[in-house]
Amino acid sequence: MAAADSPSAALRRRDLCSRGIRLAGKMRSDVISLLDTYVERQGLDASASVAAVEGVPVAAVEHWDEQGGTQRLLENLAAYRAFRTLLAQMLEEQREQLGEADAALGRALAAVLLQVSAFAYHLEELLRLESSRGPPSEEGAAAPAPPHLGLFERKLRGLGVLQELAQWAVRSARDLRQLAKLSPGSSSVPSPTESP
């Protein structure tokens, strides 16, 4: 566990964690405002709760406090890679369906997609520090083709993606705070006294 032990690595890790927490916070507020715009522009009912959408990673997790640092990062990275694909699909559909008519929504979607991509890259940085194997490669992991859905189902699916992304932003901040507390490189679970 060479690099993880040196003080500079710990410092770098804590710095990455705190910057990641700020990124997640910004992303969450942007996703919340995007959600408002999305609901309004797509004519949806704000109170509509969308059942779990296939292909959208779920933020809620059991035994959250028992997870190790590396596992947290891996789950986060998998989620944001999935969101990157889902948001790119949403952006493509947005252009196809509305063209230039709703540029504002398109720009807001693109902005959040950029943040999700940046956050995924940030997680990869952390994983390089955290685990000697580094982040899992994405080669060969072709993005699943979007399911053939009617327009209304796509609107609901988009709502589900954004709602879940907002949840993930909260979870990521908590995960990174948790990670910042752990001793570097430990994938073990903090003793109960240390748990948040």
Binding site: R41, Q42, G43, L44, D45, A48, S49, A51, R95, E96, Q97, L98, G99, E100, A101, D102, A103, G150, L151, F152, E153, K155, L156
Partner: protein
């Protein structure tokens, strides 16, 4: 008793009779004769109906019923006049009933069985469309045709007021043939067997809201239906923010009817079917305007490389993305077709078409189409009469004389086939602006020159130039930049 004769084809008739129920009957002896028969035709039958020729005027019939052992029970004679014979066409045969779900249209095909009848008879076909297990009549129409002594396949289309997926549709048909020279009673045929187009509410996994993601014109009336699983209950169906009263179609399908739909938002109007436990299904309706016929359709060239066509933007269609209004330029003489990139969000309407070698005249059709409708405008132009040169560039003024100067400029474009007319504007201080016209042969991406004389010595002048076609004036180019020059002292 009750001998009745019916003909289906004017040549043969089927005569049927009743027999009193007393005693057990064996075979029947049936004889008939007409004026043009040498002797009666007789035969035995177990049936109580026979098929015999339709007489020219009348037929004498003798029916003898026998006991099981063959002993004659009773004999009765009938005279059947032509006026007693009924004419009832055979039941029409439906050849095909084809649904087009995208247009909610049923296409019915049937044979008119015309070969059986003389040429030229009028035939009337009553067609019924039904729903709800063929119990509710939706519409009945009468279709007319003329028989041609051949079997012709007739077809008829019907567009439903609701998507065909919503519930099963049934069709049946009957006919009436107006045989003018037939003196007996004439009647409608029987109804054909019912043909069915099953709805999604008969399919195990047919749930959904229909029509799916369709486009209609503003003011349309649209019926939406929600097909769900057996036993599920629809809590409400909404169109946009409004809850609509539901129309029961079947145990698995209910509909709402939206009248006079108004223009939808950019992302369309949602039609949501909320079932129990908040489960939602839905569709999206896009309501927009049909494209206007382009006005002020005009084409010109600024460089003899590209023809730039413009037109006045019509009313916005309210449809975007892949449903937007699409434009294409078709040139009839060359057969060349170009699709135009038009951004509905801004007012400009421009489309470029390449200048074709050795073609001076262009016969354009600007095609406009959207999911709601299409239209077009046409324009015939002689390109040499539609030259609008680009702004002259790199204007330079030089000269080492007190009363004359040379001007030089460049025009981006290929004008080798025409004569150019250029106008030089001369102004200096307080004196009045003067215009000097000069014409010159056009060139290919050329530099053009002109000389001005009779200027005043030691005077500061401002010059600028613009050009147009000398042969057929269409439009001036924009003015070039101003260039200053002071003449030498005398």
């Amino acid at each position: 008793q009750n001998l009745k004769c019916v003909t289906h084809n004017l040549r043969k008739m089927i005569c049927a009779w009743d027999v009193s129920s007393k005693g057990r009957h064996g075979q029947t002896d049936f004889c008939y004769t007409t004026n043009d028969l040498p002797s009666p035709v007789c035969f035995k039958t177990k049936e109580k109906r026979v098929e015999i020729p339709v007489p020219e005027s009348s037929t004498m019939v003798t029916i003898t019923t026998n006991s099981i052992s063959g002993a004659a029970f009773a004999t009765k004679e009938f005279e059947i006049h032509k006026t007693d014979i009924s004419f009832v066409p055979l039941t029409p045969r439906i050849l095909g009933l084809t649904p087009d779900f995208s247009t909610s249209t049923l296409s019915l095909k049937w044979s008119d069985n015309g070969s059986v009848f003389p040429y030229g008879l009028d035939a009337f076909w009553q067609i019924q469309i039904l729903r709800k297990e063929a119990t509710e009549k939706v519409t009945q129409v009468t279709y007319y045709s003329k028989l041609t002594h051949e079997d012709i396949i007739l077809s008829w289309n019907w567009t439903s007021d609701m998507p065909l997926e919503c519930t099963s549709h049934y069709v049946k048909i009957r006919c009436y043939i107006n045989v003018t020279q037939f003196v007996g009673p004439k009647d409608w045929s029987d109804w054909s067997p019912v043909e069915e187009v099953p709805g999604k509410d008969t399919e195990p996994s047919g749930s959904g809201v229909f029509p799916q993601d369709t486009v209609v014109a503003v003011g349309s009336d649209v019926t939406f239906c929600c097909v769900h699983e057996e036993g599920q209950q629809i809590q409400r169906m909404t169109y946009g923010p409004e809850i609509y009263p539901m129309i029961h179609l079947s145990s698995r399908s209910s509909a709402i009817r939206v009248l006079n739909a108004s223009a939808s938002d950019t992302s369309g109007t949602n039609i949501v079917c909320t079932l129990a436990e908040g489960v939602m299904d839905g569709t999206v309706l896009f309501v927009g305007y049909a494209p206007d016929t382009p006005e002020k359709f005009s084409c010109e060239t600024s460089n003899f490389l590209i023809i730039k066509c413009t037109w006045k933007a019509g009313r916005p269609s309210g449809l975007y993305g892949k449903r937007r209004t699409k434009y294409s330029l078709f040139e009839r003489i060359s057969g060349k077709n170009v699709s135009c990139e038009v951004n509905e969000m801004n007012k400009e309407r421009v489309c470029g078409f390449p200048v074709l070698a050795d073609q001076k005249t262009y016969d354009f059709i600007l095609g406009v189409s959207s999911p709601i409708g299409q239209t077009e405008s046409s324009l015939l132009v002689d390109l040499t009469e539609r030259v609008h040169p680009k702004t002259p560039e790199k204007l330079t003024v030089f000269g080492n004389s007190s009363t004359s100067v040379h001007l030089r400029w460049f025009i981006n474009g290929s004008f080798a086939e025409i004569q150019l007319l250029c106008q030089i504007e001369i102004s200096s201080g307080h004196s009045e602006r003067k215009l000097h016209n000069v014409s010159m042969p056009g060139g290919k991406f050329s530099i053009y020159t002109a000389q001005l004389n009779t200027l005043h010595p030691y005077t500061k002048y401002q010059f600028r130039v613009r050009c147009s076609s000398a042969d057929h004036f269409w439009r001036w180019s924009d003015w070039s930049r101003v260039e200053e020059h002071t003449t030498l002292e005398a």
